[in-house]
């Protein structure tokens, strides 16, 4: 009783104390089936050269028959929890996805249960390719409000289940996968703290990226233009709020839609190609999984080092966009 009131008093004195989301671990999972450009060229009117020159994508992973988004989310979540260590005590699971296992209920509770986290808050967030950045803002909010102390945020999608395999304009672009992060309550000044997040949407452009007649449909040219404009705009806004200039950024980890968008956004911001991180060549566009998967792969490859100033930016169906900044922490 006494301890509880002491804690309340302390919070009343400094309500922001220890209430910023801090990155504590990353994890990733891609399914075992790999589809190469030559595999696609064998059944579609396309070629490795055509796909590579326009998208930079060479391979993508596709979910195994009988598995779904939750299976990928569970695998990535397991990896992140293992990396976070045995003292981790998650009290909320947020799953960013647009390809949930079912329309109702949300997929996150099943993921939480499979991770032996039954009882904790669990829900889905859908902002398509911006889902992970939206999820970061949601997790940060849960922590800032004191609702949660440790959040498992997962981005997972299986667009192979909604992309028409006979459509040569969309089939090469997407891959299935999942990426996860553990965010814990901490101080704004410590490495890994989420420094700023920017979010936005324009529903008037809902038709640009949608599902029509049962299959995924996208207006490529307009999407390309919007993606570059919005990703660069959100990045500029979040940099201004963070107090960074483009030249301060050590790593730009943008939504991995295709290599061309990433490089154009980088060029627009004045961030040279060496600081633009890309794993889209190997995994394609994995939608909500894209940024956490890119972070996990860059971390595993040693390309993100403690102290690096990291800029995230995404654009997706909705349309939606978002950007975030953090200093990369020391991770196991």
């Amino acid at each position: 009783m006494w301890e509880k009131s002491a804690a309340l008093t302390m919070e009343a004195c400094s309500p922001r104390q220890g209430r910023t989301a801090v990155l504590a671990a990353v994890g990733a999972h891609v399914p075992s089936i790999v589809v190469t450009n030559d595999d696609l060229a064998a059944r579609l009117d396309t070629s490795d050269e055509w796909i590579t020159s326009r998208t930079g994508i060479r391979t993508r992973h596709v979910v195994e028959p009988g598995r779904s988004t939750s299976d990928l989310a569970i695998a990535a979540g397991t990896a992140a929890l293992r990396a976070a260590g045995p003292d981790t005590s998650i009290d909320a699971v947020v799953l960013a996805t647009s390809t949930p296992d079912r329309l109702v209920p949300a997929t996150a509770p099943a993921v939480a249960a499979a991770l032996e986290l039954s009882g904790v808050a669990a829900f889905d967030v859908d902002a398509v390719c911006s889902g992970f950045v939206y999820g970061l803002a949601v997790a940060n909010g849960l922590i800032a409000a004191g609702t949660a102390r440790q959040v498992l945020l997962i981005g997972a999608d299986t667009f192979s289940t909604i992309v028409d395999p006979a459509d040569r304009t969309t089939a090469p672009l997407f891959g299935d996968g999942a990426g996860a992060v553990v965010l814990r309550a901490g101080e704004a000044a410590e490495p890994g703290a989420l420094l700023a997040v920017e979010l936005g949407s324009d529903g008037a452009l809902a038709e640009l990226i949608t599902v029509r007649d049962g299959w995924f449909a996208m207006q490529g040219q307009a999407v390309y233009r919007q993606a570059v404009t919005r990703m660069a705009g959100a990045a500029r806004d979040v940099l201004a709020r963070t107090g960074w200039r483009p030249e301060d950024v050590d790593a730009f980890v943008g939504h991995q839609a295709n290599l061309r968008i990433l490089r154009t956004v980088g060029a627009d911001l004045g961030i040279d190609a060496e600081r633009v991180h890309a794993n889209v060549t190997d995994v394609g566009n994995t939608v909500a999984a894209s940024i956490p998967l890119a972070l996990a792969h860059a971390h595993a490859a040693g390309r993100l080092r403690a102290g690096d100033r990291v800029l995230l930016s995404a654009f997706g169906g909705g349309t939606t966009w978002g950007a975030a900044t953090l200093v990369w922490p020391e991770l196991g």
Binding site: R54, G220, Q221, Y224, R225, R260, T264, D268
Partner: protein
């Protein structure tokens, strides 16, 4: 600005795109026959918009199929 400045930028873009230094870029040429596909066109629009501080909205695109269509549009909207 002058039509010539805009044309030179388009010419330079087409030559870089095709990795050549002597591709002819006549004003009457269709953008598609110069190797400008739908995504390259967006790259070109970004470059034009940035360089000449103009806006070329999506709904203007159906009226733009040749080099002259594009340069005319940029010159007209910049005035």
């Amino acid at each position: 600005m002058e039509q010539q400045q805009v044309h030179e930028l388009v010419e330079d873009f087409v030559r870089r795109l095709n990795d050549t230094s002597d591709t002819e870029v006549p004003p009457t040429a269709q953008l598609t026959e110069l190797g400008i596909d739908s995504l390259s066109l967006v790259d070109l629009l970004f470059t034009l918009e940035r360089t000449f501080e103009v806006s070329i909205p999506d709904d203007a695109l159906p009226g733009i199929s040749t080099v002259a269509d594009l340069t005319d549009y940029v010159v007209a909207t910049s005035r």
